[in-house]
Symmetry: C2
Subunit: 408 residues, 2 copies
């Protein structure tokens, strides 16, 4: 399966010509001439996502008004969009619910899991995404459970000591992939539970949560799923586990019969109990539309292309003498590659000025994201050639490229 | 100020002709001929809300992509939309942040407040909106604080015993208004804290949180603010209080420097610390547009008209011999009036069949909502005449009007 990345632009173009996903790219509303390598941060707008958002606003909201909760089935959107998403993470359709943000969902799942483990410890690796760390610090203060920051890579030993581990499947800086099955087996052996953060994995990794024995997970939908800025997150909770868990944020949308207006909370069956308040319908429907882009595309196809694009970037990085902190050519890897340069921020700005958009993570990581739905091999080639030119000509060495923006 | 409601359709029309808010109605995208009396559940779409949603999707997202976090200032939307909303609740612009749902925000505020009171009790009246009750039950299980369900109207005595009270300013069934200043004074005297739920009050009541000494509040934006289905909620936290509080759901958007990617949480100053995850930008921008509808309109104007419309409904209810559970003519009242009838569900369906939309709350309350921005006196008159006809002709007594929908 594994091929050496193309070493000429012509060879790159040949890969595009054979690419079964190439047609999908045409349905994104990407500006002409732009090479967008930041889908690991915010995926672009697709025609079905924009159409769904507009139909929802102009027809369902403006014309249907309150009736749309029934007639447009808004009430079931958290479930129906969750079911649509389930295949992309290898879950049963009824085990996924779309709700709230990853931050909020991490709290719900970890707090619920904490009640089911004997050792009241909250385990997070030190290089975990910040919000994952913050939420566990908050839960620790709230619950009295011990917050344990684990050295990167020491999750296994931590699980053996018992507790709840919050762990990204794909590391947001390095794109290193965790082996879900391996850690779940260790967790099961030691009475620990893992809350997987799938934010950087969904849509670019061949996830199979059921096969791998994952019990709890959350993830964001605005990266490789292209759900729109701040699109709602999802929760996966395997039914047998879900039914033993208490949602610590038990809002009316997780009630067994929300419109009975009972005074007492009674959770609905399964993952849906992790819903809380009224869902943001406009955002949820944009995601609903965005997921249509994945129809008849397998997660294996997505993963294979994302890796091949990343391999090409890695090969180029080697030619340019740039250190990579991401897994090398042919190794399992998430959807992005991080190349290091102490002037990385300015270099990224210089690329943006040439209509090529990667992003930057302090202090020195240039992240190039390879969303398999719309990035082509030729685009990666051209982006890397531009990078070569910027490095060789020191085009990045201008004051205008060094002004830091609020969001980097 | 208080006038008897008009007793003829002509008199109702005269009120419309003198109504300074009448022009606002033209900027809503309401279907021709529809009388919409359900704005207390879901407000309608306005031109500026739809325009903001579409600009955000088609330009800021599709064209600007990741750059829009800076260039379209998405990153500050929770604050800027909060600041826009602040005037409508009588708050300082910097004391309001838009984030998450009312359910989630109730948890944040009550959990934070609980740490600041000596008596660890969570107080909720038995007729409080269900999600408020559920969230406090959840927080009680989480924190060990005692959940105390108080008889309706006994909030004052409960506050004297100490604790955190969650309390709607306008009751969702009856539209009875609570006196914020009175309860805050009692709370202050006894070391208690109140988390106000402004969901049914914002946009139809002359709120003045600063004047009344309110310290913590949340509210929804999809009712009288017309922010769109499931539009994000807001949090008000008076600065001096906010800075003493710990957000129990400390996501990266409440961090003092979210893009520094620190491992440790450090809250930003003020109400903004109650942000958690990435905000749903599409929904947030629809709300942003919707708030433009309130430009140069005072909360006193909104409240006065809402009450006058409600008075007219109440007067009609008396003529029709229907019991009202809402405050009477001339009394302070929220934006709706609840008239009782044991066949209320079928009667509401019969009204909907005539293009008049109120809603129904089991077992017997027909809720008629009077959003001051787009409901006219003539419309209320016509709706009540239709109600009279339906009652007199027993037009509701048909099987098709008795089929219960999922959402009622």
């Amino acid at each position: 399966m594994m091929n050496h990345p193309p070493t000429t632009r012509t060879a790159a173009r040949q890969l595009d010509e054979q690419d079964p996903l190439a047609r999908a790219g045409e349905r994104f509303e990407l500006p002409e001439g732009l090479i967008y390598l930041d889908g690991h941060s915010l995926g672009p707008a697709s025609k079905p996502a924009l159409a769904a958002a507009e139909t929802t606003a102009r027809d369902e909201w403006a014309k249907g008004l309150i009736r749309s909760w029934n007639e447009a089935d808004w009430i079931n959107l958290p479930k129906t969009v969750g079911a649509k998403l389930a295949r992309l993470i290898g879950a049963d359709a009824t085990d996924v619910i779309v709700c709230d943000s990853v931050s909020i969902n991490l709290f719900k799942l970890a707090a619920a899991a904490l009640e089911c483990v004997d050792t009241k410890r909250l385990l997070v690796e030190a290089d975990e995404f910040p919000t994952d760390q913050y939420m566990m610090q908050g839960l620790s203060a709230q619950s009295g459970a011990r917050f344990v920051r684990v050295e990167p890579g020491d999750a296994e030993a931590a699980l053996e000591g018992g507790g709840v581990l919050v762990k990204s499947v794909v590391n947001y800086r390095t794109a290193v992939i965790e082996d879900i099955a391996r850690l779940e087996a260790i967790a099961a052996q030691h009475g620990s539970l893992i809350v997987w953060d799938l934010s950087h994995a969904t849509g670019c990794v061949a996830l199979d949560l059921m096969r791998d024995g994952a019990r709890l997970a959350t993830g964001c939908t605005y990266k490789y799923l292209n759900g729109g800025p701040g699109a709602p997150a999802f929760i996966y909770a395997r039914r047998d586990v879900a039914n033993q868990l208490r949602n610590p944020l038990p809002g009316w949308f997780g009630h067994a019969d929300p419109f009975a207006f009972d005074g007492d909370y009674r959770p609905v069956e399964g993952a849906a109990r992790f819903s809380a308040g009224t869902p943001s319908v406009l955002s949820l429907r944009a995601l609903d539309g965005a997921l249509d882009m994945f129809e008849s595309i397998s997660v294996e196809q997505l993963a294979q292309k994302a890796r091949a694009l990343g391999d090409l970037c890695t090969w180029w990085g080697e030619q340019l003498g740039l250190e990579s902190i991401s897994p090398g050519i042919g190794a399992p890897r998430g959807g992005h590659v991080s190349l290091l340069h102490e002037e990385g921020y300015a270099i990224v700005q210089a690329l943006i000025a040439r209509n090529i958009i990667p992003d930057f993570r302090a202090p020195d990581a240039m992240r190039f994201g390879f969303s398999p739905l719309y990035v082509s091999f030729t685009q990666v080639w051209d982006a890397m050639e531009a990078l070569q030119d910027i490095l060789q000509s020191r085009a990045w060495d201008q004051p205008r490229f060094k002004v830091k923006a609020t969001v980097t």
